[in-house]
């Protein structure tokens, strides 16, 4: 799917209807990519920030930067680029937070702060057919989120990109700016750490 490569390149030189169609196709391709990635990106940002609004801002910034800078690149290059942008934004945000905390002696945010997840008991009580499943899902996620958040940055990146996003080793390496071997090493260590931390919760 290479339509995204023509973003802005096709629309001007071609005149009339063809240009309009190409631009519309390119917009649709970008929209489809972002639609598939936005929820995941938000959860990644939320795990890192523990703040919904901050996570939404970070995702929006990443989307805009991808669209403005790399909208003309082939669409199969977008996933590593997008997640690299997002990781950079998250890292910048964390640096700013660290500086702010040092300056104003603010406490560090924890997963419990600003937790807007609905009470699982309410889900069970409302009689929804998938309520038990949702309860289990939330319980599993409640254990998994802090375990992921506790991973060292590079291990977390490797885990998110390889396991969650499902990028190949090569794309993950491109997104992380390191070698394939480093990706495998970081991922292996991340999985070992998660296995240890989730041993009592996950089967």
């Amino acid at each position: 799917m290479q339509v995204g490569a023509q973003f802005g390149h096709v629309s001007r030189p071609q005149l009339g209807e063809n240009a309009t169609v190409s631009t519309a196709q390119a917009a649709a391709t970008l929209d489809a990519f972002l639609a598939g990635a936005e929820r995941r990106a938000f959860l990644i940002a939320q795990i890192a920030t523990h703040d919904r609004d901050e996570a939404l801002d970070l995702v929006q910034d990443a989307m805009l930067q991808l669209a403005r800078r790399y909208g003309g690149r082939p669409s199969d290059e977008w996933p590593p680029l997008f997640y690299r942008i997002l990781e950079n934004r998250i890292r910048d945000w964390q640096r700013r937070q660290t500086t702010r905390r040092r300056l104003f002696l603010m406490p560090k945010l924890t997963p419990d702060d600003g937790d807007e997840r609905p009470d699982p008991a309410l889900l069970v009580a409302d009689g929804a057919p998938d309520a038990p499943q949702r309860l289990m899902q939330d319980a599993a996620m409640a254990a998994l989120e802090p375990a992921i958040a506790a991973l060292p940055t590079r291990q977390k990146e490797a885990f998110v990109l390889r396991v969650w996003e499902g990028l190949s080793v090569e794309d993950t390496a491109a997104a992380m700016g390191c070698s394939d071997g480093s990706v495998k090493t970081h991922l292996s260590r991340a999985l070992n750490a998660l296995r240890t931390r989730l041993a009592g919760v996950w089967p």
Binding site: R39, F42, R68, Q137, W164, G166
Partner: protein, 144 residues
């Protein structure tokens, strides 16, 4: 790469059967995280959709890459205009100033041209009566 939004079952393609328990853990984590994506509340998904729409609009408003030569040519054109309208007239005005080195050189050239014109003239340089006087003066000098 498949980028379908509904793809919730993709697992890393690099896993091998030899990985054993690691593969199972990866599959479990992957499924858990992908399922979690579907539990976002309405407000969050709406804001995500709005952010996406802004990004798509920004991409559509991107300036095309082929416009870059104009960005490079514009400063050069401005420099040429400045040179033509400001620098050259100023240089000409400066060169016409009296006592300037350029002005002196020009005057020397004009003098040389005048001399050449006089030398090439067909009429004698001195009138005949002056010639008589010059001859008398020369004879007087020889006598003394």
């Amino acid at each position: 790469m498949n980028i379908e939004p509904s793809d919730t079952t993709r697992i890393p393609a690099q896993s091998t059967p030899a990985d054993g328990g690691e593969d199972a853990l990866i599959a479990q984590l992957h499924a858990q995280l992908r399922a979690q994506e579907q539990t976002l509340d309405y407000t969050t998904t709406t804001r995500l959709r709005a952010a996406r729409a802004r990004a798509v609009a920004a991409a559509a408003a991107r300036k095309p890459a082929f416009a870059w030569p104009w960005a490079a040519v514009a400063p050069l054109a401005c420099a040429a205009l400045v040179a033509g309208w400001v620098v050259v007239p100023k240089w000409l005005a400066t060169s016409a100033l009296p006592n300037s080195p350029v002005s002196t050189a020009q005057l020397e050239v004009v003098d040389l041209l005048d001399t050449l014109e006089l030398l090439s003239a067909e009429e004698p340089a001195l009138p005949d009566d002056n010639l008589d006087f010059a001859l008398w003066l020369e004879a007087t000098r020889n006598d003394t």
